[in-house]
């Protein structure tokens, strides 16, 4: 499905800008791809190590379904300090799910990473949007990961009352 979407878009670019447009985008994105590859590797290794060294019973106690508000706060804090981009956040989140975190805490972590994680804010948002906007945007976002995690938990136990399907 994504392949089709990309092929159609590439054809449209070719029709509009000729072969020059196609190769220009290709070289730029290849360079970007080469740049992020080592980080993808780092993310995968980080996820694998975390899945291996975190004790399951401890994770399910502090991030599991009955971890309460504390679990959501831990997830939020973890997402906020996690270094790197999507190539780290998603493997690590996936590892947390494997070792016993519930959907709620993992949602809090992923949402916290996207909204209050410093990686994207420092690298992209500050220079493009300016300090004032970025800081207020982050302040406004502060409560959202916990709320999203709580909503996730609330919906999850009603969708799957007998636990994970």
């Amino acid at each position: 499905m994504i392949g089709v979407l990309v092929a159609v878009s590439a054809t449209l670019v070719w029709r509009r800008d000729g072969i020059g447009g196609v190769t220009e985008i290709l070289t730029r994105d290849l360079a970007l791809f080469g740049g992020i590859l080592p980080r993808v590797l780092a993310g995968c290794l980080l996820g694998a190590f975390i899945a291996e060294i975190l004790p399951h019973e401890k994770v399910s106690r502090s991030l599991g379904p009955s971890s309460g508000l504390k679990g959501l706060l831990i997830g939020t804090a973890f997402g906020a300090i996690l270094p790197g981009g999507p190539f780290t956040a998603y493997p690590v989140a996936s590892a947390l799910l494997t070792v016993g975190a519930d959907f709620g805490a993992t949602i809090a972590m992923v949402v916290s990473w996207t909204l209050i994680g410093y990686g994207r804010a420092v690298a992209w948002e500050l220079p493009i949007m300016g300090t004032d906007f970025t800081l207020w945007r982050i302040v406004i976002s502060l409560p959202l990961p916990v709320l999203a995690g709580a909503l996730g938990r609330f919906v999850y136990v009603r969708m799957y009352p007998k636990g994970a399907p």
Binding site: V22, I53, P86, F87, V155
Partner: protein, 166 residues
């Protein structure tokens, strides 16, 4: 020192730190997680390749003016709603999303609408869900997370309206 370099250092530092902990648990723990992580990496590279190399084309065919037009100035809750839809539909990486936000601000878009746009884009930009999140995580989790995230750009816009910032 650039921000990207600092982030790389923190990233690999964390990898080294958890790797060292794994090593202390025993050589077997270290080698099995190294193998696990490398296999994940090998499986994911083709999908990421398609995503990263393809997203440039997708971003190139969706004109940015259409998206900024949606964010219109002083458009109230309807503007917030369109901002959320625009955020979900915005293709490409962080440069595209924030640049559109910045253009919308300069073009007179309201702060709550731009906040809603940036947050919707951060939470559930469709292309990122497909290209980044699905390859790494169980699809069931990804859709569930995106669904429960839906109200939050509106919540953020409401907070922005209430406090009158930024």
């Amino acid at each position: 020192m650039s921000a990207a370099l600092i982030i790389d250092i923190i990233l690999w530092g964390s990898v080294a730190a958890v790797g060292f902990i794994a090593f202390q648990r025993g050589r077997l723990v270290l080698t099995s997680s190294l193998r696990e992580g490398t296999m994940d990496f090998i499986n994911i590279v083709p999908r990421i390749a398609l995503g990263v190399i393809g997203s440039g084309y997708i971003a190139a065919v969706i004109p940015q003016e259409i998206i900024t037009g949606w964010l219109g100035p002083d458009s109230g809750w309807l503007g917030v709603l369109t901002a959320v839809i625009a955020g979900a539909a915005t293709p490409g990486g962080p440069v595209v999303g924030f640049s559109i936000g910045a253009v919308a601000m300069k073009a007179g878009g309201g702060a709550p609408q731009v906040i809603a746009y940036v947050i919707a884009w951060a939470l559930f930009a469709f292309q990122r869900l497909l290209l980044w999140e699905i390859p790494f995580m169980p699809a069931r989790f990804v859709w569930f997370r995106a669904a429960v995230s839906l109200p939050f750009p509106f919540v953020a816009a409401a907070i922005a309206m209430a406090i009158g910032k930024p």
